[in-house]
Amino acid sequence: MSRIGKGYACMWLAFAATARAQPPASVERLSPVERQQSDFYAAIGSGVTAAWTVEPARVELGADIELTLKVANADNPAELLRPNLADRPEWKAIFGGFRDSPGSSPGEFRYRLKPRNAGAFVLPIPKYRFYNPRLPEGRRFQTAFAAAPNITVIPIVIASAPSAQIPLDAPDRFFDDPPSSSGAPASPPAWYWWALLASGASVPSAGIVFWRWRNPDAAKLARIRRARSVRIALDALRKAERGPDPTASVTKIALRYLVERHRMPASAHTPREVSDALRSEGWPPEKLGEVEAILARCDAVRFGAATDSGLSLVESTRRWIERWEGAAT
């Protein structure tokens, strides 16, 4: 046997020994490193082929094309993975609207794509690598070469011949009457704000001046009402007018006013006690006389046969308080 013949015999024996070893017909038997090889879609076998076809090869812009990948001679057709074209920049540059559709057999993958622009394109088909277990270790990944299909995308041609009517697609509100301008400015003019500012300052001022002009006494009343005890007394007198027993209320109101406003001791209740308490505080006699008169009238109306009505008593008390407060201010 010649040297060449011996060489062939050695190669045959090595190949036969490899072939006799149990081939991994499932991707599960491959190591993780082998499974993660780039452009490897789980195809195992010897002589695996990958063919790409496109239908139609000439398409109008806006229409879809169907791309088909057929993988043949794989030992594990059920395990084959679909190459994901939607993630590849070179495909995204040409197509949009990626949709996957099932193939007619396990080794067949279909894609529906929508070209973005008109023109002629050679499809950038990805490399298809497969695992050949019958080859020696380290050389088992092979590439299945395939011809790249071409497509031609033609621009939309508006045919002069009558064709099917396509209705406009838009929300219904777009087909209502177009909104007409109301004439009002989109935002208030600046002078509106200045006018509001001016009126905010002038209207209350004018209102206060007008009210004081119309109610000269009321201005004084407003001033005296600023004291809490006076305000309470006047409000209580107003309520007493509408109450069932104005006279009883007037006595209480007058006493409370004296206690809160003039610091009279709260223990004084009768006209004499009140008079003594105020005298001890150093009140002038004319004021003492007024207080005594009011309280005496209250008693007279309540317990005596006086002709004075409760309402006139309320009015007298109010005048008394206002006179005192007016004198005080």
Partner: protein, 263 residues
């Protein structure tokens, strides 16, 4: 069709001669003719295109109202020009950011823009829905609230200095609080408007690649070209190119010729 062509020539060719009333009438008439012909897009679109031209001229003459922007945007959209429709909606929203009709229309126009699946979050193209004080509260709303607040304050002050009363001060305090709220919202609106002006919106007229530099020789910043109708915000300009920011935050360069400004 001839009549339509003549209308377009009359309007677009002699804009100076057409009065505003004529423009408004033409726009409305063409729009309604388009609506009548909506069953056939080939017939309807030219009418909407004519209406859009008239609305655009009307707008450029200074008759700017949110209602006009709404009609104009719809006419552009129905004529098949989404970028101009988006620009019209933005123009109207500058005047009345709170107008719900314009906000809704803008979302419809954006839906029509082909959305490319983004590879990264910063390459997101669709801007978020309008938000903030300007999108909710109009200047008229604030003015109305200010009138109410000033009235309450005036009543409180007048009450305090006339008949007095226990509730004069609380009333005035409510008025002051109302004015503070109105002032705060006005301040916030002004801030939002200033931010809007600092980065104006542009709309892509045609598909265009976003590049890393201001020239065709620069590499693409985003793999897929940006679709027609995509909205970007201007950061800077140089040599006929705009540095822009996408809604997701990615920054790149686009040629100015491919961009539609907001009128």
């Amino acid at each position: 069709m001839n009549a339509l062509f003549i209308t377009l020539v009359l309007i677009a060719g002699k804009p100076a001669e057409a009065t505003e009333a004529e423009l408004a009438d033409t726009a409305r008439r063409e729009y309604l003719l388009g609506v009548e012909a909506r069953g056939d897009a080939r017939v309807a679109r030219p009418h909407f295109a004519a209406a859009a031209v008239a609305y655009r001229l009307f707008w450029e003459r200074g008759s700017r109202t949110p209602e006009l922007a709404e009609s104009w945007g719809r006419a552009e959209f129905l004529a098949g020009d989404s970028p101009r429709a988006i620009a019209a909606a933005h123009a109207g929203l500058r005047l009345a950011p709170q107008r719900a009709g314009l906000q809704r229309d803008l979302e419809t126009y954006r839906d029509a823009v082909i959305a490319v699946p983004e590879a990264k979050p910063d390459e997101r193209l669709r801007p978020p829905r309008l938000s903030g004080v300007r999108a909710r509260v109009s200047e008229w709303d604030l003015f109305g609230a200010a009138i109410v607040a000033v009235s309450i304050l005036s009543i409180g002050v007048m009450r305090r200095f006339t008949v007095g009363g226990a509730w004069a001060f609380p009333t005035a305090a409510v008025g002051v609080a109302g004015l503070i709220v109105v002032g705060g919202l006005t301040w916030e609106r002004a801030g939002e408007a200033a931010e809007e002006r600092s980065a104006p919106v542009w709309v892509l007229r045609s598909d265009e690649v976003l590049r890393k530099g201001n020239g065709e020789s620069h590499a693409a910043r985003v793999d897929a070209p940006l679709p027609r109708g995509a909205e970007v915000r201007e950061i800077a300009r140089r040599g006929g190119w705009l540095q822009v920011r996408l809604a997701g935050g990615a920054i790149g360069w686009l040629p100015e010729r491919a961009l539609q400004p907001i009128p």
